[in-house]
Amino acid sequence: MISLNRPVHLTNNIPPTPMNKYLLLLALCVSSSFADTLYITLEKDNALAVVDGLNGQLIKTVPLGQRPRGLALSKDETLLYVAASDDDTIQILDLKTLKVVGDLPAGEDPETFRIHPNGRWLYVSNEDDNIVTVVDLEKKSVITEIAVGVEPEGIAISSDGLWVVNTSETTNMVHWIDPMQQRITDNTLVDPRPRAAEFSVDNQSLFVTSEIAGTLSRINVSSKQVEEQLSFHIPGVDKELIQPVGVLAHPNKTLLFVALGPANRVAVVDIQKMEVIKYLLVGQRVWNLAFSPDLTRLYTTNGVSNDISVIDLGSLKVTKSLRVGHYPWGITVKND
């Protein structure tokens, strides 16, 4: 990455400040902007917002089940799965018609879920029952239920498919599930109220946010030990308000984006140094994050201000905020 930096630096005559280095790294990943469609769950509208990401426009709103939260596209991008928490189900939508075409048994109060790279296994956390339910997407049946800690929350799956991790908010642990055995093989104690987890692009590290402690932990995937921790400090913002939630790793393997909840900011983190490069002011109670498929934009869902923020990844600046409905929660993006 460092060697890539040099030719660009020479041609553009930009002073080699640290920030420029990051911007150049980001710029190298960017060719030109492509159209994309964002799907956003609206927790208090019981609906799905469909947004044109390139132009930043709300296209339409589609009714869903009660309290929709987590959502994901099927591997072939023809179906959209949405957890309707208060209906105790995951709804299946046909992406062309946006009509509900079925549902999945998902246990009680499904919240966040992820689909295994094999495209067939879906892992969902059931907050009230302290279990992770594994669903077979082809058979639409439950494969197994895995007992985890109190109030399971975040789910992350490594891109090589070797690990599924689940965070439990009250037990304060990361549970390592081996998908071949569908059982927990290891546990890592982390800071209070762990929320989201994200594997690094190379699957060597796992990043976990702790909402109450206000920290980000980097865990070594082979040793399962916390290697490094980062606390966030924003001048003029009470430390109690800095509550890291959603976390997203940039494919350039250098940067990580962390949503800081009621601090209304997204932190841009250098993965190797575990240092914050920049805080970006977004909407209120920023929750979940997603990249545009061409990696030119980062989108954030902001629950309290009822909007999404669009961040230009080339300049690391917030360029737009767009009202989408009440309590936007989850977000997923489709390449058009």
């Binding site: 009230d128 800690g149 109190v150 304060n172 546990n187 104690l189 209070p192 402690a213 009470d238 109690e240």
Partner: protein, 393 residues
């Protein structure tokens, strides 16, 4: 005749010995006790809300369940023993027998006079006492105990929460009506302290000393009783709820009621749903068949305090646990949107206070506009410079 042990047999024995020590190291047992002192029920209130016979215990039980879910991964097993001491029975003796039996963590829901005695025993026997109900400021000041931890917010924390809210509303002129039980006087004292602290003015103060059931006569008596100076809000100090509920709609002037009735500052409330509290409410309701009370919440927090410290300090020794929970490394998640920690100067758990009416949360205090050099949570209750607790350094 000497028996010769064969070599393979010896190794088998050795490995068995090693294995058994391994098992012991992995399954540490943490015993927690819950001790409740029963008080006579108030006759005047007997046909209102049902008297809770399992208050506190249910919270502690849920905490034990939560700890054990974690314990299955850490090798700790938590057990709860609950003792209810009936009116007239010896609470101190019951406490002593628990200490004798080896209990190092004791959650207590007892009367102030009892707590005075228990904290001395806790100090001598090196056991940790978690106060789940006594809100009197004295226990956070001169009467503090070296092994006594306060989970329930003090009257001063609650009164400060109320005063901060009133300051924001600019309801600066207060009419204080107080009952005459010791608790009423403690709460009234806290109210006066908060009024001074936040620049509120108590324009009038009256004592309610009627002995009868107020329900049938409120309409006639309260308008007369509440006549006097102009005020913004009526603050009532009636901890048992003997008359405070009848003030609303009966005052001479149309004014809101706050304090022990009306808008009430409290640790927990059934309508609290932010910061994941819904999960807690659901889990508790499923277990207990009723809503969680302040004492249940405090008892849950006490058990979770022990669980969190045992997990992280990797010890079950009471003094190691005490050291850990007073350190910077300890923090507890309590569904209040911020981490909860202990004040080292009086061992009170820092926590936001909910301002609730019977069916809604009006606000959660402190608001972030109330600034403090350490944490905004320390704008509630006795701060370090004010504390007269003996171990405040």
């Amino acid at each position: 005749m000497r028996k010769k042990i064969s070599l393979p047999g010896f190794f088998l024995l050795l490995s068995w010995l090693l294995m058994s020590s391994q098992v012991q190291a992995n399954s540490s047992i943490v015993n927690i006790a819950f001790l409740a002192e029963k008080v006579p029920a108030q006759a005047a209130l007997s046909n209102l809300d049902p008297v809770l016979i399992d208050e506190g215990v249910q919270g502690a039980l849920l905490g034990i369940k939560d700890n054990n879910t974690t314990g299955q991964f850490t090798g700790h097993q938590y057990n709860l023993k609950s003792i209810e001491v009936l009116v007239g029975d010896d609470v101190v003796a019951a406490f002593e027998s628990l200490v004798e039996a080896g209990y190092q963590y004791l959650i207590v829901d007892v009367q102030p006079a009892t707590l005075q005695q228990l904290l001395i025993i806790a100090r001598e026997k090196k056991v940790l006492l978690f106060n789940a109900s006594a809100a009197q400021g004295e226990f956070r000041n001169a009467d503090c105990g070296t092994n006594l931890f306060h989970i329930i917010p003090s009257y001063e924390m609650r009164a400060d929460a109320l005063a901060q809210f009133m300051l924001k509303k600019r309801w600066n002129k207060w009419f204080l009506v107080k009952g005459n039980t010791p608790d009423d006087l403690s709460f009234a004292k806290a109210i006066k302290r908060s009024a001074k602290r936040f620049g509120m003015k108590i324009v009038e103060e009256k004592s309610w000393s009627f002995q009868h059931d107020t329900r049938r006569t409120a309409q006639a008596e309260i308008p007369v009783f509440t006549q006097g100076k102009e005020y913004d809000v009526l603050i009532v100090a009636d901890v048992k709820g003997l008359f405070g509920d009848y003030l609303a709609m009966n005052t001479w002037l149309p004014r809101p009621i706050a304090g022990t009735q009306g808008l009430v500052p409290r640790a927990w409330h059934r309508t609290h749903e932010r910061w994941g509290a819904v999960q807690m409410q659901n889990r508790f309701y499923k277990q207990a068949g009723r809503w969680m009370s302040d004492v249940d919440y405090a008892s849950w927090l006490a058990v979770r305090t022990v669980g969190e410290a045992v997990t992280r300090a990797k010890s079950i020794d009471s003094m190691a646990i005490k050291k850990f929970i007073l350190s910077d490394r300890f923090s507890l998640a309590g569904f209040k949107g911020t981490k909860l920690t202990f004040r080292t100067w009086n061992q009170q758990l820092r926590q936001p206070v909910l301002l609730a009416t019977p069916r809604s949360i009006v606000s959660v205090l402190p608001h972030k506009e109330f600034l403090h050099p350490l944490t905004y949570l320390d704008t509630l209750g006795y701060d370090k410079p004010e504390s007269t607790c003996s171990f405040n350094q």
